[in-house]
C-alpha cells in the first residue's frame, strides 16, 4: 500500500501529509513533483495537500490545476484511484472539475484557523468507513477561501447521490459560509474526496487540543485499501 503526496509550488502542508502517511500510518510514501506528467499507477492513494499553490493568485487552485501532474492525477482518478484533496487540494480538485462546485472567499473575508466540529454525513466512502454517520469529528480548518458554492440543482444532486461526506455541525460551526454547511464532498464514484478541514493536523494526540479525529479519515483509507487488497488476493 503506497501513498503519494503531490507538491505544487506553494504547497505548504505537503510535508505534514507526508508525516502522517509515512510516520503515523507507517506506510510507504513518496513525494510527487508537480512538473512531471507521470504514471501514478503505483500509488494506492494520492494526497493533494493544503497550502497556497501559486500563491493562490487569481483564484485558489486555478493555476495549479494546469500543472503537468494534474493531467496524470485526472487520469488516475478516472481510472478509479483514490484521491483526497485537503484544503488547497480540495480547491484544486474543484478547479480541475474532479469535484463539482466552486470556492468563494469566506463570508467574514478573514482567514480563519480554528477547530471546527463536523458531522459525518456519509460513512460509506473509502475515507469515512471507520466512522458512523452522525459521528462528530473535531478537525481544524485554516483557510481564507473555503466558502463552498454550488447551484441549487447541483446541491440537490449532491444530496441525492450522497456525495456530501462531512458537514459543519451547525451554522455557528460553519467557519466560512459554505452552502448547506458543506465541509467535504466526494464524486459519484466515491474515489475522489475533497474537504476544507485538515485531518493531518489532528492525527496525533500530542498536538493542539488533543483531538485525533483526523486519524479516522486516514485510517479509513488504510482499512479500505487493505480490504480491497484482500479481495484482490494481494
Amino acid at each position: 500500500m503506497k501513498f503519494g503526496v503531490v507538491t505544487f509550488p506553494g504547497s505548504n502542508c505537503d510535508q505534514d501529509c507526508y508525516h502522517v502517511a509515512a510516520e503515523v500510518l507507517n506506510k510507504p510514501t513518496d513525494m510527487v513533483w508537480h512538473k512531471d506528467k507521470q504514471d501514478l499507477s503505483e500509488y494506492d492513494c494520492l494526497i493533494l495537500p493544503g497550502g497556497f499553490s501559486y500563491g493562490d493568485y487569481l483564484r485558489t487552485g486555478a493555476i495549479a490545476r494546469f500543472s503537468p501532474i494534474m493531467e496524470s492525477v485526472i487520469e488516475y482518478a478516472e481510472a478509479g484511484g483514490l484521491v483526497i484533496g485537503i484544503c488547497n487540494g480540495f480547491q484544486i480538485l474543484l478547479e480541475a472539475g474532479l469535484l463539482p462546485g466552486a470556492m468563494k472567499v469566506n463570508d467574514s473575508l478573514k482567514f480563519v484557523c480554528d477547530y471546527t466540529k463536523l458531522e459525518v454525513v456519509n460513512d460509506d466512502t473509502p475515507f469515512t468507513n471507520r466512522c458512523n454517520s452522525g459521528d462528530i469529528l473535531e478537525i481544524p480548518v485554516a483557510h481564507g477561501e473555503g466558502n463552498y458554492h454550488i447551484d441549487e440543482e447541483g446541491l440537490a444532486e449532491l444530496i441525492a447521490n450522497q456525495q456530501i461526506v462531512v458537514r459543519y455541525l451547525s451554522e455557528e460551526e460553519n467557519p466560512n459560509g459554505s452552502v448547506d454547511n458543506i465541509a467535504g464532498i466526494c464524486n459519484q464514484e466515491r474515489n475522489v474526496f475533497g474537504l476544507m478541514p485538515h485531518p493531518e493536523r489532528c492525527s496525533e494526540s500530542i498536538l493542539g487540543n488533543g483531538s485525533t479525529d483526523g486519524y479516522q479519515i486516514f485510517a479509513s483509507i488504510v482499512e479500505y485499501l487493505s480490504k480491497r487488497g484482500e479481495e484482490c488476493g494481494e
Binding site: 509550488p9 506553494g10 505548504n12 502542508c13 497556497f52 482567514f111 480563519v112 484557523c113 493536523r201 493542539g208
Partner: protein
C-alpha cells in the same frame, strides 16, 4: 541640494567629510547613496552600538551571537535553533498590510539565510487607543498583513502580544520574530571570501521599490511621510516560499561559501556586509542584475529594496548547480560579479566603474556616537503617584469585568484566529497560553517561545521595566515547562538625539542586561528601531523580549487551564502592594502612572526553578504566570481556558484592590492534585520561596473571598468578546 549633497542621503556634514577622507575624493551620487543607507541608523546602529555592548551575549548554548543575520543556539542532538526579532514600524504606519507583511517576510529570510528551516513566527504589536478609527484601520491591516504573508509561506504564527495605549497613537509597533531549526553542519553565514568565487543574485527581480527605505526607517514620521510612496514595498510570500525551499536545498549541497538575504539597503547592504565579514572585496556589474523595470541606473539598482532576493557566493564552478536548483523552483539566479582580494566594493555598469569604496568602510566603519543622556523630568512625579488615595471600587465583580475586557487583557483570539498557527503540525500548545510550545519531530524535545514587554513599566521605570520584560518572558516559557535558553531583543524607542530618550534607552538596556545575566539567558541578536515618534510625543520605550526555551520531554508541556475539579490552586511567590502602572489603574481610572512593581531577580530565578522542578516532577496540572491585571486576572484566565470554576480564600491585610489587581512580579499560579501538595511545598521550601494555598478548582464560578463571585461563562463572554466588539461594533 547642490551644495549639501549629504542631506538627500540622510547624512550629516561631518559624516560627509569622513567619506571624502576615506575615498580621498568627493563621492559620486551612487557612492553617496551607498554610504547613506549603510551609515543610516537602521544599518549601522551608530547611536546604539556603544550601549548594546553592555548586553551579555555569551553562554554555553550560543553557537552564533549578534552580528550575523540571526543568532543560533544549540539544543542538543546536533540540532540548533536560529531566531531573531525585527521591527517594521514605519512602513506599517503608512501601509499597514504591506508593511507588516514584508516585515514577516524579512525576518523569515533572516532565519533561512542561516540554514535553518523556519518553524514558527511570533508578532509583538502596539497600537493607540482601539476606539479610534484610524487605530482600528492600522490594527486590522497589520494583522491581516501578518496573516497574509505567514499563512501563505506556511510558517505558523504561534504567539505574540498586542497592547494598546495612547502612546502609540500615530506610531504603531510591528515587531516580528521567527525561529528556525537546523542541523549544526548546515549553519550558513553571510561571508564572501575566496578570490574569484562568483557572486550571484537569486530570487525576485529588482525594481524601484523601497529605494531609500533604510534611511526612511530612521526618520521621524512626518506628514510628508504619507507622500513617500515609492518607499512602500509589496511582498510576495509565494515567491519567498520558493526562495526558502531553494535556499535550504542549496545550503544542504555544501556548495556555498556564504549567503545573505537582501533586506534593508538591498544589494548594497548584502554585498558590502558579506565582503567585510570575509575580509574580501566584491566586484559586481549592475547591468547583470535581473530587473523588473527598464532604465534603472546604478544608484537605483544598488539601493532598491525589492523583496524576496538573496545574494549568494558559491564556490567557483558551482554556478550551474545554483542555477539548476533555482530553476527547479522557477526562480532566477544570475552571476553578477566575483569576490576580489582588495577589500573594495567595485560597482560596474556594463563594464564601466560607477562606484568604488572600501567594503569595510561601508559596513563597519560608520561613525559611532555616544549620545547625551538625561533623566526625564516626568519621572519623579509619576513614580511618586499615590494610588491609595483612590477610592476602592464599590463592586469588585464589576471591577474584574472591566479589567478583563480591557483590550490589553482581553482574549487575543480575534488576532490569532487569523493566523495559521498549526501548519507544519508541531504546535503542541496553541496560542492563548503563556508561551507556545512546538515539538521537534523525531525527538522527545520541545521548544517554548514567547514575547513580552510592558512599555508602560519601561516608561515609568526603564531599568526595572527592561528587567521585567526579560523576567516575564522567561516566566512564560517556564510556565510552559521549558528551560529558558536565550533571548532576542526588539528595541523600540523615540529619537535618540533627545537626551531623555537616550536615557530611557540606556536604562532599559541596563535592566535587560542584569536580568539576562541573572537568569542565564544571553542575547543572541536583535534589532534597534529609533525615531518612533509622532508630532505629539515619543512612544513608550518598548524593548520587546523574544525568549526561546527548551523542553527535554515534550510530554511535560504545560498549559494555563485548570484541569480537574478538586485540584488545589497554589501561588508561588507573593503579592505586594503594587498597583502602580497597573492595568487596574488604566482600566478603571484611565491612569498610566505610578511606580511599576519591583523585581527581585534572585527571587524570580528561584520561583522559576521551583515551578520548572515541579513540572518536571510531573505534579503540575496547570501553570500560569501572574502579570498584567494581577492575581485575579490570572485566576480568571485559568478558569476560562479550562471551563472550570475556582473557590479562592486570600488571607492578607492588603486592600482588596491590591490583593486582586496588584502586578507584583515573580508570581506563578499552579494547580496540583491534592496528594502532590506536600511535594510542591518541599520544592518551594528547598529554594526558600513563598508558597500559599489559594483554594480549589470547583464548580462553575470564580469566587474570591466575599469580593468576587462570577460565573465562568460570564467571565469568558466579557473576555472573548471585548476586542471583536470594539472593532466590529
Amino acid at each position: 541640494m547642490e551644495n549639501k549633497p549629504w542631506e538627500a542621503e540622510g547624512l550629516t556634514k561631518s559624516e560627509y567629510e569622513m567619506i571624502v577622507d576615506i575615498l580621498g575624493r568627493k563621492p559620486n551620487r551612487t557612492e553617496l547613496g551607498m554610504y547613506g543607507v549603510m551609515w543610516s541608523e537602521h544599518c549601522s546602529y551608530k547611536n546604539s552600538k556603544a550601549v548594546l555592548r553592555n548586553l551579555p551575549t555569551e553562554g554555553e548554548c550560543v553557537l552564533q551571537g549578534p552580528g550575523e543575520n540571526a543568532g543560533v543556539i544549540d539544543i542538543g542532538d546536533n540540532q540548533a535553533v536560529s531566531f531573531k526579532i525585527e521591527s517594521h514600524n514605519h512602513p506599517s504606519a503608512i501601509e499597514p498590510y504591506q508593511g507588516a507583511a514584508t516585515g514577516v517576510g524579512g525576518i523569515i529570510r533572516d532565519i533561512f539565510t542561516m540554514g535553518a528551516r523556519p518553524i514558527a513566527c511570533l508578532d509583538s504589536l502596539r497600537f493607540g487607543d482601539l476606539e479610534d478609527q484610524h487605530v482600528q484601520f492600522l490594527f486590522e491591516g497589520v494583522v491581516s498583513g501578518i496573516s497574509g504573508y505567514g499563512n501563505c509561506i506556511g510558517v505558523p504564527t504561534v504567539g505574540g502580544e498586542v497592547h494598546f495605549s495612547a502612546a502609540y497613537q500615530d506610531n504603531p509597533l510591528v515587531n516580528a520574530m521567527c525561529i528556525g531549526l537546523m542541523e549544526h553542519e548546515d549553519l550558513a553565514t553571510g561571508t564572501a571570501k575566496g578570490v574569484g568565487n562568483p557572486v550571484m543574485v537569486v530570487g525576485a527581480t529588482t525594481g524601484r521599490d523601497g529605494i531609500q527605505g533604510a534611511s526612511f526607517a530612521s526618520d521621524e514620521l512626518t506628514e510628508e511621510s504619507e507622500e513617500d510612496r515609492p518607499a512602500v514595498q509589496v511582498g510576495d510570500p509565494f515567491m519567498e516560499k520558493l526562495l526558502l525551499e531553494a535556499s535550504l536545498e542549496l545550503i544542504k549541497t555544501g556548495a556555498l561559501v556564504g549567503i545573505q538575504d537582501m533586506g534593508a539597503a538591498g544589494l548594497t547592504g548584502s554585498s558590502c556586509e558579506m565582503a567585510s565579514r570575509g575580509g574580501a572585496g566584491i566586484e559586481l556589474d549592475v547591468d547583470l542584475v535581473p530587473k523588473r523595470e527598464t532604465g534603472m541606473n546604478a544608484y537605483e539598482v544598488m539601493l532598491s529594496e525589492s523583496q524576496e532576493r538573496m545574494l549568494v557566493v558559491p564556490k567557483k564552478g558551482k554556478e550551474d548547480l545554483v542555477k539548476q536548483i533555482f530553476d527547479k523552483w522557477d526562480l532566477n539566479a544570475a552571476v553578477i560579479g566575483k569576490v576580489t582580494d582588495d577589500g573594495m566594493m567595485r560597482i560596474l555598469n556594463k563594464g564601466e566603474i560607477v562606484a568604488e569604496a572600501p567594503a569595510r568602510s561601508l559596513a563597519d566603519d560608520a561613525p559611532e556616537y555616544e549620545r547625551e543622556s538625561k533623566k526625564p523630568d516626568y519621572l519623579e512625579e509619576a513614580q511618586s503617584y499615590d494610588w491609595s488615595q483612590l477610592e476602592e471600587p464599590q463592586d469588585y465583580n464589576q471591577a474584574l469585568l472591566e479589567v478583563l475586557s480591557s483590550p490589553n487583557i482581553a482574549s487575543k483570539e480575534w488576532v490569532y484566529q487569523q493566523y495559521d498557527h498549526m501548519v507544519q503540525t508541531n504546535t503542541v500548545v496553541l496560542p492563548g497560553s503563556d508561551a507556545a510550545v512546538l515539538r521537534v519531530k523525531g525527538t522527545e524535545k520541545g521548544l517554548a517561545v514567547a514575547t513580552d514587554c510592558n512599555g508602560r513599566y519601561c516608561y515609568l521605570d526603564p531599568e526595572t521595566g527592561g528587567a521585567i520584560a526579560v523576567a516575564e518572558a522567561a516566566r512564560n516559557v517556564v510556565c510552559s515547562g521549558a528551560e529558558p535558553l536565550a533571548i532576542t531583543d526588539g528595541l523600540n524607542f523615540g529619537n535618540p538625539l533627545k537626551p531623555e530618550i537616550f536615557w530611557q534607552f540606556e536604562k532599559c538596556i541596563e535592566g535587560i542586561g542584569e536580568a539576562c545575566l541573572s537568569l542565564g539567558t544571553p542575547v543572541t541578536g536583535g534589532n534597534v528601531s529609533f525615531y518612533n515618534e509622532s508630532p505629539e510625543a515619543a512612544i513608550y520605550p518598548t524593548p520587546i523580549i523574544g525568549m526561546v526555551g527548551l523542553l527535554e520531554d515534550i510530554e511535560q508541556a504545560t498549559t494555563i487551564d485548570f484541569k480537574d475539579e478538586g485540584d488545589l490552586i497554589l501561588l508561588l511567590g507573593e503579592t505586594k502592594d503594587e498597583l502602580g502602572a497597573s492595568e487596574y489603574l488604566q482600566a478603571l481610572y484611565g491612569l498610566e502612572t505610578g511606580q511599576p512593581p519591583s523585581l527581585d531577580l534572585d527571587l524570580e530565578k528561584r520561583v522559576q526553578e521551583v515551578c520548572l522542578e515541579a513540572i518536571k516532577a510531573g505534579v503540575v496540572k496547570s501553570a500560569h504566570d501572574c502579570a498584567d491585571g494581577g492575581l485575579v486576572v490570572a485566576l480568571a484566565e485559568s478558569c476560562i481556558s479550562g471551563d472550570l470554576g475556582a473557590k479562592i480564600e486570600l488571607v492578607s491585610d492588603l486592600a482588596p484592590s491590591s490583593l486582586l489587581f496588584s502586578e507584583s512580579q515573580s508570581r506563578i499560579v499552579i494547580s496540583v492534585a491534592e496528594e502532590d501538595l506536600a511535594q510542591v511545598k518541599k520544592l518551594a521550601a528547598a529554594k526558600d520561596i513563598p508558597i500559599s494555598e489559594l483554594g480549589r478548582v470547583t464548580g462553575n464560578s470564580l469566587v474570591v473571598n466575599d469580593l468576587v463571585n462570577l460565573e465562568v461563562g460570564e467571565l469568558k463572554k466579557e473576555w472573548t468578546e471585548s476586542i471583536p466588539t470594539l472593532i466590529e461594533g
